[in-house]
């Protein structure tokens, strides 16, 4: 047995480094969840964070509904196309405050990084889902211009960018390192 010459074991323990830098930036994962948490977010960010069932399913449903709307006679849509339509659609737009945009961009960066780690088949499915969501998003924007009073379109409009954030979040979350559950 040996004795510590100058410092006791307690001193050695107390002298251990208190700070250890995390090996990767954990903030994007935290920020994404802050925007999804309840009462501390701004109203629109709160709406963005509302969890919707299945991004792909919702996106596909949106797309399918819009296909039905697209079949409507053009004259019916043009009658409702008024100057205030553009302003109306702008009301539905995604929050654009710097804080929200930064957090959203950060989440998208994490999503892109994690996506690159997935196998090609999974990646292709996710990219396809994202394309469906974005396509639906544009279609709804156009439809809202023609029918700004439609609550269904309003809900669909909100759901598409919810879906996009939800898809980002789910990919990031599902690719987090996990510990074996027993």
């Amino acid at each position: 047995m040996k004795e510590l010459p100058a410092k006791s074991l307690d001193d050695e323990i107390a002298a251990l480094r208190l700070d250890i830098q995390p090996p990767r930036n954990l903030w994007p994962g935290i920020a994404g969840r802050l925007h999804r948490s309840s009462s501390r977010t701004r109203p629109m960010a709160l709406a963005a964070a509302a969890a919707l069932a299945g991004a792909c399913v919702a996106g596909t449903i949106s797309w399918a509904v819009l296909q039905g709307r697209a079949a409507r006679p053009p004259a019916q849509a043009s009658v409702r196309a008024a100057p205030q339509a553009a302003a109306r659609t702008a009301d539905f737009d995604e929050p654009s405050t710097p804080r929200y945009v930064a957090a959203r961009d950060s989440l998208e960066v994490s999503f892109r990084e994690r996506l690159a780690l997935l196998d090609p088949a999974t990646r292709a499915r996710i990219e396809a889902s994202l394309a469906v969501i974005r396509h639906a998003h544009e279609d709804i924007r156009k439809a809202l211009a023609a029918d700004p009073a439609s609550p269904v379109l309003e809900q669909l409009w909100q759901s598409t960018w919810h879906d996009e954030l939800d898809l980002y979040e789910r990919v990031v979350r599902s690719t987090q390192p996990t510990v074996t559950r027993t």
Partner: protein, 183 residues
């Protein structure tokens, strides 16, 4: 045991805390930048596993954000945050059984030179990581992060006497592991 002052952190960032309480995420991000190394180190030493420590660190800050409105400044922000981190680790432990013995227990711990020439700090870190969970938790909280026995006992949900006994056990096991004579 001479305890370190775990609250020897820089001055309380009152402005950032106040802004975060009012919902300013960028202020909260600055708090994360300032406090995450200590929270991560605490979680890493409590769990003994890097991935679990990352997860618990994230959980801690998400929980802190949600609870900020109730932060009454009766303690320092770091103290409050450390308690949340301990809770996150214990909550995770209740749901998951981590295979500490299978994976390298000291993974993620940096190489650290020992400035005083005593037992190498890394050997000590590894010996701590290999302690039984109960003894390790108490040693980390009381010995390294300066919790009082009552604070550690409350955080860990154990009796204060148990806390003292676990610390004594941890010291004995460490001495044995490092080939030292107990004082």
């Amino acid at each position: 045991m001479q305890l370190p002052d775990a609250m020897d952190a820089p001055a309380e960032p009152s402005g950032l805390i106040a802004a975060a309480v009012h919902g300013d995420i960028s202020a909260f991000e600055q708090l994360y930048r300032q406090f995450s190394p200590r929270v991560y180190a605490l979680c890493l030493r409590l769990t003994g596993q890097r991935e679990a420590a990352e997860d618990c660190t994230q959980e801690s800050f998400v929980a802190a954000w949600r609870a900020l409105a109730g932060f009454e400044r009766r303690s320092r922000f770091s103290t409050w945050l450390h308690r949340i981190a301990v809770h996150a680790v214990l909550a995770r432990r209740r749901g998951l059984r981590v295979r500490y013995e299978v994976e390298e227990p000291a993974s993620g711990l940096p190489d650290m030179a020992d400035p005083a020439g005593g037992a190498p700090a890394l050997d000590l870190e590894r010996a701590i990581a290999r302690l039984p969970e109960g003894a390790r938790h108490v040693l980390v909280l009381v010995g390294i992060y300066g919790f009082s026995h009552s604070e550690a006992a409350e955080s860990l949900g154990i009796a204060e006497g148990t806390c003292k006994a676990q610390l004594h056990r941890a010291r004995g096991l460490l001495c044995a592991a490092l080939g030292l004579e107990e004082a």
